[in-house]
């Protein structure tokens, strides 16, 4: 059954409020939820993404299913959160897990506001001047046979001079909606390497917000790999907040079948002399739909900012769709800003070259598609992650075959 977007917006708000009250939401967080509006037909930030799938009633129930194929551990340090609840953790010295969560700045979507009202945050705090060698594998899993949701909330906090790697890894089964909030907070001289791996089952939904809050002169390198599912929406909001801070984000998104990915990135420069660099590559095949909105916002006074964004996309066949919008909002002349976007197809000359060497067309396309994102795969600094990511993406790309070619 299809309901109108505006009716659905009202229904979702009613459901979210009821659920929040059931789950014990109160105070300012609940008031904020009362004041928020869910996406309506003309809500600009949801222009290309319908939340129609939620008409199935995901917000009415909390996911409680058992996982059939839980994630393998990619490290000795593991934190497991199933259906929004912390299950186990095994952490090295220098990292403490607690629930005394700081307020998170920059949350904007109604779903994040709802998460704030109900979630019990898992805070991973890295002690000052400590270098954590082993990546921390944060497994965020959800399962439900019927439409239901969960609200994981993870806050990674690096104190002065801390250095760590966090793998934020999502897994979902059945009809679960993962309504996630993750915040990365870094103090002076901290260095965080962050992975965001999103490979939930095609039938699941994911609506997530990632906040990167660089409160100190710090470096954050974030790698975001994702495939599409029934609905995937990622709001990434980076606050490059202290002069000298550096941020890089690199990402790959692949959509196929009828899957959907909507990435809404916003990098905000409020202070002078910071750098940000974003590089995202997208592939859309079959009837997949990909959305990328990359916004760089440079406030008055943020002199000496150096900000760049690149988004290159391949549209592999008829039926697939890519919508991209690189935005600049600049209130200062002393900046270096550039963005570039392309939407295209595989290079026919290259394809012919491979085929003329005896490589079948489908294989040639797969090779070239992989080649398109390979630059970013090669850039992954941890071999364990790369080893996991490569076959996963290769499988996705094999699946995202051009139209007119059989599954064989």
């Amino acid at each position: 059954m299809t309901v109108s977007a505006n009716d659905l917006a009202l229904a979702l708000k009613t459901q979210a409020l009821a659920s929040a009250r059931r789950l014990g939401g109160e105070g300012d967080a609940l008031a904020a939820l009362e004041a928020t509006r869910f996406p309506e037909r003309k809500t600009e930030r949801w222009k290309y993404t319908s939340v129609q799938a939620l008409a199935d009633g995901h917000l009415n129930a909390v996911a409680a299913g058992d996982l059939r194929q839980p994630l393998p551990a990619l490290s000795e340090s593991v934190v497991t959160i199933n259906n929004g609840e912390l299950v186990t953790s095994s952490l090295p010295d220098g990292v403490t897990l607690h629930h005394n969560a700081p307020a998170v700045a920059g949350l904007e979507t109604p779903f994040a506001v709802y998460n704030s009202a109900v979630a019990r945050a898992v805070v991973l705090e890295v002690a000052a001047n400590t270098r954590i060698e082993q990546p921390i594998h944060v497994q965020i899993q959800a399962a439900s046979d019927a439409p239901a949701h969960c609200n994981p909330r993870v806050i990674v906090k690096l104190n002065n001079g801390a250095e760590a790697t966090v793998i934020e890894h999502y897994h979902g089964e059945g009809q679960a909606l993962t309504n996630a909030v993750t915040a990365l907070i870094t103090a002076d001289n901290a260095h965080l390497t962050h992975y965001r791996l999103q490979g939930e089952a095609a039938s699941t939904l994911h609506i997530g917000t990632l906040i990167i809050d660089q409160q100190g002169i710090s470096q954050v390198d974030s790698y975001q790999l994702m495939t599409g599912n029934r609905l995937r929406r990622n709001d990434v909001h980076a606050l490059v907040g202290k002069s000298g801070a550096e941020l890089t984000m690199k990402g790959i998104f692949v959509v196929r079948d009828k899957s959907h990915v909507d990435n809404q990135l916003c990098v905000e420069h409020r202070v002078p002399d910071c750098q940000s660099d974003q590089n995202f590559k997208g592939l859309a095949g079959e009837n997949g739909k990909a959305v990328f909105n990359g916004r760089i916002h440079i406030h008055e006074g943020a002199k000496g900012t150096n900000a760049e964004l690149s988004n290159k996309n391949l549209l592999l066949n008829v039926g697939a769709e890519i919508n991209t919008k690189p935005e600049l909002e600049i209130y200062n002349d002393d900046v270096k800003c550039a963005h570039g976007t392309t939407v295209g197809q595989l290079d026919a000359t290259q394809q012919f070259y491979l085929q003329s060497r005896g490589i079948p067309a489908a294989e040639a396309k797969r090779m070239l598609s992989l080649g398109f994102v390979n630059e970013l795969l090669m850039a992954l600094p941890h071999e364990t992650v790369a080893e996991w990511a490569r076959p996963w993406l290769e499988a996705e790309l094999t699946h995202a075959r051009p139209a007119g070619e059989g599954a064989a």
Binding site: L315, N323, Y331, V335, G340, Q345
Partner: protein
């Protein structure tokens, strides 16, 4: 470069800011069906035209004004605007220039647009619109020989109703958007052009728009039809007096390029921008769109230096196979100006091609936004788009923004979009000054260089004017 040098440059005066004293018949402010009936009657329009206007008015009343642009202005009270103003001397349409009010002629002389044909630049026919009315169209007979119709839209409604009925609203429907609906209800005058099959229009056609009367809105409507295999180059210039109040301008331009035709539409928009404190200036809400049929080409070139508010997206619907759309734009904002301008390229046909070159220059406390849409429909095989979107910021209090929407549903399409921002660097200024060039001249040279890709698309006469507008003194001295 120092702020003082910049300030001096951007504080140059608005030379078209004088007012003309002519006796006018001006309707009191306010909008209603009666007002529409009155102005339609005044213009002696047939009933179908009146009904079309009333229909548009009813649509408009149902519509909210758009809020999505990066623009901030107090709400406009559409009942404080007068929808009709006409110099009394035009009551009986002048048959020759001798009959045109000398005050009006003097106005255009002062603006550098001599209407006396013998003094004019050879090969440019001019239609002149003063407030709500077309003053005079030059070179009519010569154009008629080639079968070209170039007249005011009012005349076209009377003399060529079949063409007007067929094409008016065919590109920009009455209810397309808030301001287009308003224009459709109350449009005063404007130009009409028809180029017959296979005809290459023997001269450049141009229209000069001038708002004079205070509190008067100007709602011109332009309709250009290039029949199969024809060619026309059309130029448009705009000025208004310097007044403290904001004046409203809501125009609609429709272009129809039938198979194999080419329309080149150039604008130099220099409406009064308001003063340094943001007082006064024109609110410019314009809908410009063309439909390009098979193998045709529509090219928009605009140089926008005026208006307190600019809301304008000259667009091309690439309906036919192999059609081409182009958009070349320079938008300069200074003082407290706000511009939200760009284009839409809607690729529907196969092998369609579009090029967008946008150069935004922001100074003082102005805000300059590029807003664009490139849409590739599923059947637009092999569509191509290239977009280059550059911003130059002069000063640390201005803003430069880019909002390019890119939507592709065809895997054989190729889209490329690039954007950069820059400033006039200290090194560039020092090199110029070390060679003896004063800072003001140096800035205008650098700005002109930044805009060069767009200026070269303008017809010669306009390129000169555009260059002058940006205080540029040397253009094309070396071939």
């Amino acid at each position: 470069m120092s702020q003082a040098e910049l300030d001096k440059l951007i504080r140059s005066n608005y030379e078209a800011g004088f007012t003309t004293t002519v006796d006018t018949e001006t309707l009191p402010p306010g909008l209603s069906e009666d007002v529409i009936r009155f102005l339609s009657d005044k213009k002696g329009e047939p009933d179908w035209m009146l009904q079309w206007r009333l229909d548009s008015y009813r649509k408009w009343q149902e519509m909210p004004s758009p809020t999505w642009a990066h623009l901030h202005h107090p709400p406009i009270d559409f009942n404080e605007v007068s929808y009709y103003s006409k110099p009394k001397s035009l009551d009986d349409a002048p048959k020759s220039l001798d009959e045109v009010d000398p005050e009006l002629l003097a106005t255009y002389e002062k603006l550098g647009i001599p209407l006396h044909e013998q003094e004019m630049l050879a090969g440019v026919a001019v239609d002149v619109v003063f407030d709500s009315s077309s003053v005079f169209t030059t070179f009519k007979e010569k154009l008629a020989e080639a079968g070209v119709i170039f007249c005011s839209i009012s005349e076209a409604i009377k003399n060529h109703p079949e063409l007007v009925k067929k094409y008016l609203g065919s590109v920009v429907p009455q209810g397309d958007n808030f301001y287009a609906a308003l224009n459709s209800a109350v449009f005063s005058d404007g130009s009409f052009v028809y180029i017959p099959k296979g005809v290459r229009c023997p001269m450049e056609l141009s229209t000069y728009f001038r708002i004079n009367e205070a509190n008067t809105g100007q709602f011109e409507r332009t309709l250009i039809i290039a029949d199969e295999g024809s060619y026309v180059s059309y130029l448009e210039g705009c000025t208004a007096p310097q007044r403290d109040e904001n004046q409203l301008h809501a125009a609609v331009v429709e272009l129809v390029a039938l198979p194999g035709a080419e329309i080149k539409y150039s604008t130099v928009q220099n409406w009064y921008p308001g003063d340094e404190e943001g007082k006064g200036g024109i609110y410019n809400f314009v809908t410009k769109r063309g439909v390009a049929h098979d193998n045709s080409k529509i090219s928009w070139t605009q140089v926008e230096t005026g208006s307190a508010i600019t809301w304008k997206y000259p667009s091309v619907i690439l309906r036919g196979d192999n059609s081409i759309g182009e958009f070349y734009s320079v938008a300069l904002t200074r003082h407290m100006q706000q511009a939200d301008t760009g284009t839409k390229m809607i690729h529907l046909g196969k092998n369609t091609k579009s090029t967008i070159i946008s150069k935004g220059i922001s100074a003082a406390r102005s805000q300059n936004s590029y807003r664009g849409l490139v849409r590739i429909s599923p059947r637009a095989e092999n569509a191509r788009n290239f977009t280059q979107c550059d911003s130059l910021l002069l000063g640390d209090q201005c803003g430069a923004h880019t909002f390019p929407y890119i939507e592709s549903k065809n895997p054989t399409a190729t889209i490329e979009h690039e954007a950069t921002t820059s400033k006039v660097s200290d090194d560039q200024m020092f090199l110029c000054r070390q060679r003896g060039i004063d800072p003001e001249k140096a800035v205008s040279m650098i700005v002109n260089g930044f805009c060069k890709e767009v200026f070269k698309e303008l017809p010669m006469e306009f390129a000169v004017e555009a260059g002058k507008l940006l205080e540029v003194s040397l253009e094309g001295a070396v071939g």
